[in-house]
């Protein structure tokens, strides 16, 4: 098991360098530059532009810039934002809990609904339930997040008035964050109604963010279950007279779980990508909105370091999934 873990970790090192290089190059390949973005419509004289480029060091060869950047990152210094002049890691730390909270709730919704829906669709293959579930899943998968979010706001917040429009908690609740997780902080605050307000603010963004992963998990569960349900050992289990619930739950589902767990792990990337749009619509102060703002301002430091930090997190989650995978399936460890 340790060897397996070391092998996986060894793979991460070149990946990190690859990603840091890709992020560094990506932001510089974008048209425009941070100096002009900072100057705004008033513009900047060529002399002043040259001065600022020199000051930020963007006139030096890319190789030097990259080596300096990666050198700083290795010492834990992710740089200072060009736009806000605040340390990038500090900004990330302040905003990440909001994204993590939203993504966690979204993932819980996706798993709790997606897996049972996939199992039932597989068991009742060809039934109206199967067709309806897969139809809804396909629609969910293809739904533009921005449009979907706005539609839910207009209907549930605007028309029915059931949920708040945006934000993390009602503005009447003011307390300084302890953990950064609003559900927890609202409980700690001891203010009556705060937790309820925080939870109600989470409903719509979590549904929007969960939509695509839910669709993917439901479809993956269904196809994995269908494959397993056709296996000989399942037929044997049935022939032995085991209760259908036991056959599905113990014999079929456990074996179908491996690709489903992998899919759930991969959804972390989808959640991060989805968070960008979801957070923008719901004014959710997380890292998705932060990255969008930084790209708009060509804030090289935030984009390259932000992407790297996000990639590190996604890799860490995938590593955990790989380990879980090995726990579930001993054959993988042996390989």
């Amino acid at each position: 098991m340790l060897r397996y873990l070391l092998h996986k970790l060894a793979l991460i090192i070149p990946t990190v360098f690859g990603i840091s290089l890709a992020a560094f190059a990506f932001v510089r390949l974008l048209p425009g530059d941070p100096i002009l973005a900072l100057a705004g419509e008033r513009g900047v004289s060529p002399e002043r532009y040259a001065q600022l480029i020199e000051q930020f060091g963007y006139n030096r060869p890319y190789v030097i810039q990259y080596l300096e950047y990666i050198g700083r990152v290795l010492t834990g210094d992710f740089g200072i934002s060009i736009a806000t002049k605040r340390p990038v890691f500090g900004e990330f730390q302040a905003l990440f809990p909001a994204t993590l909270e939203l993504a966690t709730i979204a993932l819980i919704i996706a798993v709790l609904i997606g897996i049972p829906a996939g199992i039932f669709a597989a068991v009742k293959r060809g039934s109206w339930f199967d067709q309806a579930t897969m139809g809804v899943a396909l629609t969910g998968y293809s739904m533009p997040i921005f449009w979907w979010g706005l539609l839910l706001i207009i209907f549930f917040s605007g028309y029915l008035g059931w949920t708040p429009v945006s934000g993390r908690i009602g503005l009447q609740y003011f307390f300084r964050p302890t953990t950064g997780f609003m559900l927890i902080d609202s409980l700690i605050s001891g203010k009556s109604g705060a937790f309820r307000s925080a939870a109600s603010h989470l409903i719509l963004p979590a549904i929007v963010l969960a939509t695509i992963p839910l669709a993917v998990i439901a479809r993956q569960t269904r196809s994995a279950m269908l494959e397993v349900l056709g296996e000989d050992y399942v037929r044997t289990a049935r022939a032995k007279g085991l209760a259908p619930r036991r056959v599905i739950g113990l014999h079929a589902f456990r074996n179908a779980l491996i690709p489903v767990v992998t899919t759930i792990g991969l959804q972390v990337g989808t959640l991060m990508a989805g968070a960008i749009l979801t957070e923008t619509i719901f004014s959710w102060p997380g890292i998705g909105k932060w990255m969008i703002d930084a790209i708009g301002k060509r804030d090289y430091v935030v984009v390259q370091s932000g992407l790297l930090i996000i990639a590190l997190i996604v890799m860490a989650v995938n590593l955990i999934v790989d380990v879980l995978y090995a726990v579930i399936n001993p054959r993988i460890r042996a390989q």
Partner: protein, 530 residues
């Protein structure tokens, strides 16, 4: 004694809690997060709303809803005959805000004024580079490093600005956000503690509201500053709920989650106007949307060609289709609400037949050109792509073939400045300080390579511009700028497209909010009724 103290504490707690229960709150749905709370390093309107206009004050202030100047931290001033010395008498007893992170030991004085400008000006000032990479772009952009010769403390409450050359817009410039006055004493406290960064994160000013808390990208909280020299505000708690999407801002306003919002999407305005709980204020924007020809490239170097192309465009149709009526046809390069606007100038008529004839007479045949469309929406031009399409169709009617081009926003402006740029370039401008020069400078010879996208340098116009800047008498300046507009119209370096309207939707319970022609959002003097 102990009993007395306990009773006093209980009384205080009861009054605070009672006050909290009755606290008046105003929630403003703002469009973006501020980069910081120092009013001078940044240049975005949302940065100024969150810092300069709430927390700070200036020597002079723009009157509410106007572009004229009134006394601010300076209660009076004198200008020397040669226009080179401005001496300001400071208002006595102005208090800097007291918070849990700073307690001032003295009132505002000349040292604070000098510090506020020198930190943006003098490289040897340790605060010049307290934020990595700060360029003090507004201070530099307004030409202050060249303009200022020295700032002298005459006495504690008198400060003198000595200029290198006369500058008629100097007073309005001092009313701009970057000229906000900060506390030198607070800076010194942070210097000692080695926490300079806090200057922009935990601000201290003399303005109507004091900073309470900022949850990054989410909420900014302010409280009325009891010691404000203009009197305590009626709103106790001012909250900025940062909501980047305009459609979501509109929904929040309708749902009562905010009381007032900035920049509604044109498509949402009718719905907001129809809501019985809301009112939508509107104002002519102090802006211009234009199409700049490259006057150095043939055939656009010929006046008659530029005039003919101007006459080919149906501007009224653009106002109806793109601005959805929320705008007016622009005739001059300055908006009609600006002083010195020349009402006698007639616009080039929409006359495709005459345009066709003029092009033929100028020897222009089978002209192919580019129309540049901005990739972003701006108050002065909500949809440049659509405007380009309409102009393209109008040009086609007079035999001119146009191709629409667009680039990423900063790239767009960089390419637009190229001396050999092909075709006509859409852009616009929103005024900074209400002075006509703040619009006409866009066409000055010095602005080529910066903001003069017509690459137009006309001696007659340039001389008038310089004369206007060196004249202090407003009546005389008005005449000069009226004449400059005549030259502009005759030479036609731009197709002036539109001045747009700006809308401000709010709950009917909000009273006293005055729309600002400079596009700033001020909450001093605002109240909410129950």
């Amino acid at each position: 004694m102990k009993k007395k103290l306990t009773f006093a504490a209980a009384l205080l707690a009861a009054s605070v809690l009672g006050g909290m229960a009755n606290a008046k709150q105003l929630v403003y749905c703002s469009e973006a997060s501020p980069a910081g709370f120092d009013p001078s390093p940044w240049s975005g309107g949302n940065d100024f709303d969150a810092s300069a206009r709430t927390i700070y004050s200036r020597l002079v202030e723009f009157e509410h809803g106007k572009t004229t100047i009134s006394p601010g931290l300076a209660e009076s001033w004198t200008v020397s005959d040669d226009g080179l010395e401005y001496t300001f008498k400071l208002r006595p007893g102005v208090k800097f805000q007291t918070t849990d992170y700073f307690t001032p030991t003295r009132d505002l004085n000349a040292d604070d004024v000098i510090f506020s400008f020198e930190r943006q000006w003098k490289k040897e000032n340790p605060w010049f580079s307290y934020l990595e990479g700060t360029g003090w772009e507004y201070f530099t952009g307004m030409g202050f490093p060249d303009l200022l010769k020295e700032i002298v403390k005459v006495d504690d409450l008198t400060v003198k600005f000595v200029l290198n050359k006369p500058e008629v817009a100097f007073l309005p410039d001092l009313g701009m956000d970057f000229s906000s006055i900060v506390s030198k004493e607070y800076a010194e406290q942070l210097d000692k503690a080695g926490t300079r960064q806090q200057f922009t994160q935990k601000p201290i000013g003399t303005g109507p509201y004091q900073f309470v808390d900022y949850q990054v990208d989410a909420v900014i909280r302010y409280a009325a500053w009891d010691g404000y020299y203009g009197g305590r505000q009626k709103i106790d708690d001012l909250i900025f709920a940062i909501t980047p999407d305009p459609a979501v801002r509109a929904q929040k306003l309708k749902a009562g989650e905010c009381d007032i919002m900035s920049y509604p999407a044109p498509a949402d305005i009718a719905g907001l106007q129809a809501d019985t709980n809301l009112k939508v204020d509107e104002q002519e924007g102090l802006n211009i949307g234009y199409l700049a020809y490259n006057t150095t490239q043939p055939p656009f170097d010929k006046v008659e060609v530029r005039k003919a192309l101007n006459m080919a465009v149906n501007k009224k149709a653009i106002i109806d289709a793109v601005y959805q009526g929320a705008g007016q046809v622009a005739i001059n390069p300055i908006p009609p609400t600006m002083w010195s606007y020349n009402k006698d100038i007639k616009d080039d008529p929409y006359d495709p037949e005459a345009a066709k004839k003029m092009l033929a007479e100028a020897g222009v045949k089978d002209l192919s050109m580019k129309i540049w469309a901005m990739p972003v929406s701006r108050p002065y031009n909500p949809n440049a792509q659509r405007v380009a399409e309409l102009i393209q169709a109008d040009y086609a009617a007079v035999g001119v073939k146009a191709e629409i081009v667009s680039y990423e926003w900063t790239e767009y402006r960089t390419r637009g400045k190229a001396k050999d740029r092909d075709g006509a370039f859409q852009l616009g401008w929103t005024g900074d300080n209400g002075d006509p020069d703040n619009f006409l400078f866009l066409l000055g010879c010095d602005a080529i390579g910066q903001s003069n996208y017509a690459i137009w340098c006309n001696k007659e116009f340039e001389d008038l511009l310089k004369k206007g800047k060196a004249t202090t008498d407003v009546a005389e300046r008005t005449k000069i700028y009226e004449e400059a507009q005549v030259v502009f119209k005759r030479e036609a370096p731009w197709l002036t497209i539109a001045h747009s309207k700006v809308f401000m939707p709010m709950n009917k319970k909000v009273v006293g909010f005055v729309m600002d022609p400079l596009g700033i959002h001020r909450f001093d003097g605002v109240d909410v009724t129950e």
